[in-house]
């Protein structure tokens, strides 16, 4: 029987209320033991684990509260665990992201603080010059909202003894990585791995 929150009534005699009270005590025990250590156990009231379902809306945090919950990931399309800071601050999905399955990426992850980390590969032309390369944005890859910090690491497609590419002036904006190629490489078709950290 379901929990009854409106018993006993003032006019009830125990013989009428007894079954309802008994039912409620059993219902309370059943509910409490969901996710929790049960009455009288050495972990009473603590959580065995915390199962969370997608709700109609994300939780609100009042004052210095913080919230954990589950919602659909905007970029993954599957349920993700979210963190929301105090005063109903921004909602961050802390399990969402793109795992790269090859050495060229791309991948991304947003931390609970809101920092967006993206990694991947850019093409390096053969001739010296100044170039830019767009950060990958796709249905499953979010864009940057602010200019990120950028790191770059040139790659040779095959080992080239003692040859190295010289990249300088690493700048950019929310959409692009800009760089200057100072030393002309001996072979065309190079790439570089890039790491960008922003919001």
């Amino acid at each position: 029987m379901a929990y009854k929150h409106n018993i006993p009534q003032p006019a009830d005699e125990l013989r009428f209320s007894q079954a309802d009270i008994l039912n409620n005590f059993q219902a309370i025990e059943t509910v409490f033991e969901k996710n929790h250590g049960g009455f009288g156990t050495n972990i009473e009231g603590k959580h065995k684990f915390v199962q969370m379902n997608i709700q109609g809306s994300v939780g609100t945090s009042v004052g210095d509260q913080v919230v954990l919950g589950v919602q659909l990931g905007a970029f993954s399309g599957i349920p993700e665990l979210y963190f929301r800071g105090e005063n109903s601050g921004p909602v961050r999905n802390i399990t969402e992201g793109l795992n790269n399955t090859t050495a060229i990426g791309p991948g991304w992850y947003r931390t609970a603080s809101g920092t967006l980390v993206k990694w991947g590969i850019v093409y390096i032309p053969a001739a010296a010059g100044t170039y830019n390369s767009a950060f990958i944005v796709a249905a499953n890859i979010p864009p940057f909202a602010t200019t990120p910090s950028m790191f770059i690491s040139p790659i040779h497609p095959t080992p080239q003894l003692g040859v190295a590419i010289n990249l300088v002036n690493l700048t950019g904006n929310v959409n692009n990585l800009n760089f200057s190629l100072v030393t002309t490489a001996t072979l065309a078709g190079y790439f570089a791995n890039i790491l960008a950290i922003g919001t």
Binding site: E29, E80, T95
Partner: protein, 193 residues
């Protein structure tokens, strides 16, 4: 007195059940007071903290739209760590607290992001001669997980000696092609699964 879910009985009079009913209400209040805001606090029913004793490898189950937080012994740390179980009992658990932090600029470490990405970082010193030098990721080992697919890698030189990633990156490591020059070492970060 412990909670009694089998009172009052149909033959009980209130005089005989009252004490047991009162004890149950006290036990309910005591239960709620652990990890939760109690009945008499502001925002009753919300959580103050979530204490998670280890499930000791008995993992929670999850439905279509459901996720679960739990703690278990970390395979690589051998201590209790925080994990996430994805929907439909996805076996690809996400570890939240497991990893090996570094204690200085020339050490090795790893961390698995809650989305499942594995980060490993480390360092490698080189001889003065130009050459193609292999760099091996630390692990697999008791405290270092192994990449399942070749990771993305970024390196940082600590000197003017030129060095690039070269060749094919594998789950075990990558190659650095360096020019002539002494005292080069690199630091690397690798991200994969």
């Amino acid at each position: 007195m412990p909670y009694n879910s089998n009172i009052p009985l149909s033959t009980d009079r209130i005089s005989s059940s009252q004490e047991g009913i009162q004890q149950n209400f006290q036990a309910i209040s005591d239960f709620i007071d652990i990890n939760h805001v109690g009945f008499l606090g502001g925002l009753p029913g919300e959580h103050t903290v979530i204490t998670l004793p280890s499930v000791e490898d008995v993992l929670p189950t999850t439905g279509d739209d459901e996720m679960a937080l739990f703690s278990n012994i970390g395979a690589f740390t051998n201590r209790t760590e925080l994990f996430v179980q994805r929907p439909n009992n996805d076996p690809d658990l996400c570890s939240i607290s497991q990893g090996r932090p570094t204690t200085g600029p020339r050490f090795f470490g790893w961390y698995r992001l809650p989305n499942g990405s594995l980060l490993k970082w480390g360092t490698r010193a080189f001889d003065a001669a130009a050459g193609n030098y292999p760099v091996t990721f630390i692990g697999p080992g008791a405290r270092f997980p192994e990449f399942r697919t070749p990771p993305w890698v970024l390196i940082q030189n600590n000197s003017l000696v030129r060095a690039d990633i070269s060749g094919v990156t594998t789950v075990n490591g990558f190659t650095v092609s360096k020019a002539v020059g002494a005292n080069l070492d690199i630091q690397y970060i690798a991200i994969g699964t």
